[in-house]
Amino acid sequence: MKQPNFDAIDNLWKERLENASAPVPENMWERIEHARHKKKFDFGVAWWILLPLGILGSIWFLNSQPNSNTETAKTNNKLLILEEAINEFVDTAVANNLEQNILPVTEDIVSAENDIKTISHKKTVVTTLAKKENLNALDNHFNSFFNTKNALTSATSHNTTQVSAYHLPKMAFPSFNSLEKQLPHTVFSNFSAKLLPPSNNDNDVGGFECPQDKRSNCGKWEIVGLGKVLYPQRHLSISGNNSSETAAETYLQTRKDTEKPEFAWSSGILAGRKFCSGLYLRTGVAFSQIHETFTYETPATQSTTITVTITTVQPDGTTSTQTYEQAANINGVRQITTYNKHQFWDIPLMLGYEKKLTKNTALQIESALWFNVWYKQRGTMIDYTTNLPANMQQAAYFKQSAGLSASLGINYVANIHKNWALVLGVEGRKMFKDLSNPNKHPLTQKYNLYGLNFGIKYAF
């Protein structure tokens, strides 16, 4: 089949259109300017504003939360009291000749005082149309109610935007043309670099342009929002002067028995510079918190009072209220659990090296010296003198001083956008400073922290 001769026509089209110009609408420049202005809001700006606010807000929120303490009484004879109360209630109902259904209308624990020794339970029952044979239902209800409630529980870049050009000092070489002759060829091949011609700028005599693939992400400022979830390994030991004292040893054992490190977290923002060699330097601020639980049982006999208030509506419409109160000594212990917090501010000086793995991933090895300011300790601990629980702050068991710690970490970095990368890694940190106040007790208390790093990095 004969092929049509399109080449000639293609040429006609090309000649007419390749370098054609067309009139531009008058308002086009304004439209472009408007669109560019709208576009100027980018995540970089949001990052600068929102991240520090977010971190500070989180710290404020977490710091403002009160320590939560729970107190639990462990007893074994509470049901006896309840049965008595119920029997008395039933007897009273019978005595009042109530003949129809007894319907509990409201029931609630009205008060449960913080002091476990005098917990009171109040139960209000409004009865209407009572009937004797249905009292068992109410009895069961009471039993069910008091059994299920613990009667003694109180309230309880890769990117390609940056051309890295290393310009030579003007006086280094007399002219650009002679530059290539003076530098051995191997210099260029080792650098894999290409010579840039001098620009019209008097101070520019040309230089090397690094290829994008070898120089991407180099020589950049970086901001890193970081979070850490850590396990606090506590070292509690008798300080040198008291190591022979039995009392100190007993106290050490009591502290170990009553306190248990749970977890730690850290959050902060770092900023720094990454150099073309892959090395980076960072500093910033972070807030960290170590969580521990303090558990203590008082081996004392507890006294409990149970109050049952019954309001009855008589068949004639009148109401009467009767209060039944039972007080008894209950054999049991009081268990106190307090969630202790050690809070501190960190100012790190970090040195790291980033090795590119693929186009969008990298491995970082970093070490840091952290300047820690011990900010606050909150919670309960055993007092050395009284051997009873005491408030940490009131007793000033800790020194509110500063200390140093050192860390080593390895991170995996994955670029998720032109300027953004996710960071995930592991870190170990040794804290050198003893937290204890030697005037208050004979123990030293230090921590090592091990855990996960996660963060998001913005490079520009």
Binding site: M1, Q3, P4, N5, F6, A8, I9, D10, L12, W13, K14, R16, L17, E18, N19, A20, S21, A22, P23, V24, P25, M28, W29, R31, I32, A35, R36, K39, T160, T161, Q162, V163, S199, N200
Partner: protein
């Protein structure tokens, strides 16, 4: 100011240079937009996006090719993004079905205005228009076009053929009307 100086000034966010760059190249960019767009309104939208993108991407321009060629590539990218979902990925037309349109007498071509030429190209289906522009005007091969549009090279050939035939038929129809 040379082109290179102008670009460098724009990279440094010099407002006057940005306006100068626009004034210097906007008419050529507009013509390119008209070739890739379905109509004038679309061409204006593309032009706006193109210049926003140009100013953003100027630091990436490496002076390795012509600046106008680089801008035309951006026009194509923006237009492709706009029409991509309308492109035919697999051409099903029979290439030989209408291969008998005469191509020897094209004297009317010179008589057509630029506006009429743009109009003819804009009448093409999106995929045909893309391939026609890339092959005939920009000079890409079918393999390159296939890669750019994520279609088969055969589809590119087929769409080019159909585009040519449609344009030929429209031009010949105009010729008859003029006679």
């Amino acid at each position: 100011m040379t082109e290179q100086e102008l670009i460098r000034a724009c990279v440094q966010k010099n407002k006057a240079a940005e306006k100068e760059l626009y004034l210097r190249y906007s008419s050529k960019v507009m013509a390119t937009c008209l070739r890739y767009a379905r109509n004038s309104a679309d061409a204006e939208d593309i032009m706006q996006d193109v210049f926003v993108r140009i100013y953003d991407a100027l630091p990436q321009f490496k002076y390795e090719g012509s600046f106008i060629g680089w801008m035309r590539r951006i026009v194509f990218t923006i237009a492709l993004r706009k029409y991509q979902r309308f492109l035919y990925k697999h051409e099903k037309y029979n290439i030989e079905a209408a291969a008998n349109i005469p191509t020897d007498n094209m004297s009317i071509f010179d008589q057509l205005s630029l506006e009429e030429l743009f109009h003819l190209i804009q009448k093409l289906p999106d995929g045909y228009r893309m391939v026609f522009n890339l092959y005939v005007i920009e000079g890409y091969t079918h393999e390159e076009i296939a890669k750019m549009l994520t279609i088969d090279a055969g589809t590119s050939r087929s769409q080019l053929y159909k585009a040519r035939q449609l344009l030929q038929s429209w031009i010949l129809a105009m010729q008859k009307i003029n006679l």
